[in-house]
Symmetry: C2
Subunit: 330 residues, 2 copies
Amino acid sequence: MPETRNNVESRLPTYEEVMAAAKRLEGVAHRTPVLRSRLIDEQLGAEVVFKCENFQRIGAFKFRGAYNALSQFSPEQRRAGVVAYSSGNHAQAIALAAQLLDVPATIVMPHDAPPAKAAATAAYGATVVRYDRYTEDREEIGRDLEERHGLTLIPPYDHYDVIAGQGTAVKELLEDVGEVDALFIPLGGGGLLSGSLLSVGALSPHCAVYGVEPEAGNDGQRSLREGRIVHIDTPQTIADGAQTQHLGELTFAILQRSGPTILTATDPELVEAMGSLVTFMKIVVEPTGALGFAAFRRMASRLQGRRVGVLISGGNVDPARLGALLAGAA
Amino acid sequence: MPETRNNVESRLPTYEEVMAAAKRLEGVAHRTPVLRSRLIDEQLGAEVVFKCENFQRIGAFKFRGAYNALSQFSPEQRRAGVVAYSSGNHAQAIALAAQLLDVPATIVMPHDAPPAKAAATAAYGATVVRYDRYTEDREEIGRDLEERHGLTLIPPYDHYDVIAGQGTAVKELLEDVGEVDALFIPLGGGGLLSGSLLSVGALSPHCAVYGVEPEAGNDGQRSLREGRIVHIDTPQTIADGAQTQHLGELTFAILQRSGPTILTATDPELVEAMGSLVTFMKIVVEPTGALGFAAFRRMASRLQGRRVGVLISGGNVDPARLGALLAGAA
């Protein structure tokens, strides 16, 4: 029997949960800096504040949700351990949170995941299990580990505690700078965006929120238009952190309720945005992390004189890949 | 008649001058962040603190010395204006300081300087004068502007107020983190290194100071060995901010007196250091800015368990060039 809307509503975190998550993260996650650039302000004609989660532990906001979830495990859950499937920032986030909380962690990764990412995850003490992404289903493998070994599966975005944890980044931003007129946030599975919406609702309710996804994978945009979770094939984009195939049940419900505007950015726009952040801010941002800034740059003429928040979601791009992306832009 | 050593000594700034410069810079220059990385500490076995002057105004420490010099101009000097010859960070530093202090600025640049640098300098309101670096002498052009038009020439490093201003970066670092066991500082003409030595002498007198220059241009190393200012041809190195041909009279005198160890770094070592800073710190550092970190990485095994300061001098590298450097390292 499909779950009714009311059932889903009752499972959605509120801003109170974001506040509770912030308490759990205090002294554990970094309160990342809010950076500005006079030259970017001049160039774009707005007062732009960047919340820099590329400086977060493991190099991305994902640590917030992962730690918030794991820190609430029961003693039994802690003993049995956690499992996650990811080849990206969620894997490292779960691995580090598990290490800090002394919980055994198993990370399920595709066999062709970059060796550097597997190594980084293993360096945090996690067990890395490889699977063949063409013949095996990672969710099935995860569920098997869950059921047979009693591990607790923490999905990358569609989870009450993960969403609440991700909401703490924008909470910090708005506490630090006050209300903003507009806020641009990367959108993959919707964990960061839906958590952010909880904080915006409480701290800057008149703010226009823009979720930004890769143009190649605009399932979020289509889902909100069509009023249902649209599934797509893995999109071909350099924004590897936003190659999700669909929103989650919980994240979709929060997005539907709050009605953010969903924008898209092309790969060349992401590279240009990354280059601008190199030139003016001297910071390294991964392609996914530049989604918000790329979309804002395109519509800056409509936000003249406004105060604009841009969430930089992460900075995990290895030097050779960063080099190839920036050199190709020349 | 050549100047005697005593005459030079009497023209050297002291730590009191660095303190006075710090007062002048308060609220004008950024107090740049001191960043750390747990993973770099683990990898290198030391407690490493990075003073990040890539986040300084104009993207490099040079703003400190330029502003300190210009802010002490007499009313006549202010009216007549300032002249500087540079195609790099000193040009932008003088241009911005002049703009802030409402002093007309003329910057003499080689005809083949990157258009982006000329544009950035002009954007601060400076007049850019081009010269042919193969047929004309920039110092002569500068002196001509000085004598005929009454402009005050501010050289890039060999100047009392410039040295004192550059010393404020390490002053801030040592105030923020306390004493360090070792300190690695980029070395071009010696303005930053000699200023830093004044601050180290006052705030961390037992610290071992390492000046680091490009291997292709080790005139500083040779000068200290030979006890005289060695002149070399413009060195071929990616560290464009350290392509100086000789130390200055004042900077050499301070170096000789304090006796820092001079190390060198190769271009490939600079690219590796830049890549490590991308991977672990998510910051953009120009090749010259990575000199200190490159040298420290090479000798980290001899500083196990120590507290090590690394001065990142600047982050002005355009995205395409950064891309080419990092991609070539793959």
